[in-house]
Amino acid sequence: MAELIGGLGTSHVPSIAMAIDKGLRESEEWKPFFDGYTPAQEWIAEKKPDIAVVIFNDHGNSFFLDRVPTLALGVADEYRPADEGWGPRPIPTFEGASEFAWHLADRMVEGHFDPMLCRELDVDHGMQVPMELVFGRPEAWPVKVVPILVNTIQYPIPTPQRMWELGELLRQAIESYPTDEKVVVLGTGGLSHQLQGARAGFINPEADREWVAKIGADPARYRAMTREEYIEEFGSEGAELIMWLVMRGCMDAEVKTLHKHYFAPASMTGAGMVLLENAG
């Protein structure tokens, strides 16, 4: 059976992509941010996963408001970088793990999650940035991907509790998949930020630091919080953090936090990551 090798939570701020595109990796402003990802890059280079399941939200690039899937699952053979207004970024096309994705589609529907299934899908910075942060800028991505897209833009967005349950189901799907492939799960988004309204520019570094410190060891509070509490504590767009709960929900109750990192502000956003392995 396939094996879950670990879970990563990470920001997917678009300015990270811009910083990479502009060659600012080593700049004074950005170096501390990128350096914080080095241990995760080393870990993943050593573990060599075959499949990365990436949970993220589309930011009005692949889906318009004419149809808004609360949950969407990519089952395609490949995913191209989306044109977000500046033209598609020059990064490799992502190869889809479509066999596993269809298996996951079966398990999700049987488990009463009913995603929209996507055969042709461009993916925006929500998926691009996490992949670049952990795999750098290879000629070709060293893993196949399964995108899971969550609506976090148009209300009602799904509840944190539902995200956690999706993670539990994802774990079962991985461990019932009859190959010996290794799977890593990336929950993305956040940390605190707000882009809209007079509270724009809200960040909450204290809450963010607590999040990266506790999402591994003591996630009960985050699982129980309401959507409104996420928005209050992390800002309207910071509610993206609910997608980390899919990653956390698919891990064991007891995990080792191998690495954590926090940096603020990245553009207008608290940014950071955690790397978790099951303790058992």
């Binding site: 207004g85 882009l195 309204g197 509270r199 520019g201 960040i203 959507r227 990192h261």
Partner: protein, 358 residues
């Protein structure tokens, strides 16, 4: 989260609450069924229910269950987030009541529950209206599920009922009163007495219904209760509010139904900039490009002025309208500052100034 505790009346069970329970669940509330078949008096029923059901409660009581609900509010007002009282009353035992009740107790003891159902139920149905055979057979089956012992215990509990008239006026929380138009046993006037003591109470009359309004007109009765529950303040129900409408966090415009509707064309216009053709058309003749979409004059003016706060106010979502900044370059932090109503430097200092790395 608050529990809506459904309390049946005399020799009744969950059958009375089937529709109400479903309607509350559909509204995202948490209903639970109360058991009042074992206790010897109404204060004991109230204490048992308070002990058996944790947290804040909204007792929803039918007939004798209403009496229990009022007693719960007397004993533990801090735990009672609201009261829904159906087909009930607050008067003390009336002259001759004890004799009549003892005769009924004797009947069920002597002839059994089926005979009791035959004698008792007709007077409970809407006056002047042939009872619906399905409604009647459902109630008969319910009575048969009870025993003469339960009947006797509850009847004597009713005879010894506490003086609710003396205490109900102290309950200041939300209250719903529901009564069937043709309730012969506890008529509308009894509910008006309660409303006179509790000015906050809402009195709702169910048409074509008698004393078993929740069974005789299940949809109408359940709807009234569920609507009232939905209108309770969030603090009373502990239910997470629906997030498709309404802002509750200051200066935080969530992209809800109202904004998605108001801003649809504005966002669609911006979405058009995610293709090279759209960007070229916008750059070549912005006015002509905007004419492709059904923008309000205000929305059009806001786009032309690059007034980001106004675009958001008019239903624009930043993830879409940000594409304007790809064509007419504007840093995201300037867009943030404009919405905060600050100069850029002030915005950076006060909102994003807390640089914390590591």
């Amino acid at each position: 989260m608050t529990t809506f505790l459904l309390i049946p009346g005399l020799i009744s069970d969950g059958h009375v609450w089937t529709a109400t329970r479903a309607a509350l669940e559909a509204g995202g509330q948490r209903p639970a069924l109360a058991d009042v078949t074992t206790q010897g008096d109404i204060p004991e029923m109230a204490r048992d229910l308070l002990a058996a059901h944790e947290g804040p409660l909204v007792p929803v009581g039918h007939s004798m269950g209403g009496r229990v609900a009022m007693e719960m509010a007397r004993i533990a007002p801090d735990r009672i987030a609201g009261l829904a009282l159906l087909n009930t009353g607050i008067h003390a035992a009336r002259p001759g009541e004890a004799e009549k009740r003892e005769a009924m107790i004797a009947l069920s003891a002597r002839e059994g529950m089926e005979a009791l159902a035959e004698r008792w139920l007709p007077g409970m149905m809407a006056e002047g209206r042939a009872p619906d055979p399905e409604v009647l057979s459902g109630l008969q089956a319910m009575v048969r599920r009870m025993t003469p012992e339960i009947h006797a215990r509850q009847m004597r509990a009713l005879l010894a009922r506490p003086d609710a008239a003396a205490t109900i006026g102290d309950f200041a929380g939300p209250m719903l009163l529901v009564v069937g138009r043709q309730d012969q046993w506890s008529p509308i006037a009894q509910h008006e007495e309660i409303a006179a003591l509790c000015p906050q109470a809402e009195l709702r009359i169910i048409e074509e219904a008698g004393h078993f309004a929740p069974v005789e007109q299940p949809r109408a009765t359940a709807g009234v209760i569920a609507d009232w529950a939905a209108g309770l303040p969030q603090a009373a129900t502990g239910k997470e509010p629906a997030m498709s409408q309404g802002d509750r966090i200051p200066d935080t415009p969530l992209f809800d139904r109202r904004r998605a509707n108001a801003g649809y064309e504005l966002n669609k216009m911006a979405m058009g900039l995610s293709t090279p053709e759209g960007r070229a058309a916008f750059l070549a003749d912005e006015g002509a490009y905007l004419d492709r979409f059904v923008l309000s004059p205000e929305q059009r003016a806001a786009v032309l002025a690059r007034d980001w706060a106004e675009m958001v106010r008019l239903g624009g979502n930043l993830f879409y309208i940000l594409k304007i900044s790809a064509v007419d370059p504007t840093p995201i932090r300037e867009i943030g500052a404009a919405q905060a109503g600050m100069e850029l430097q002030e915005f950076l200092d006060t909102r994003l100034g807390k640089v914390t790395n590591g």
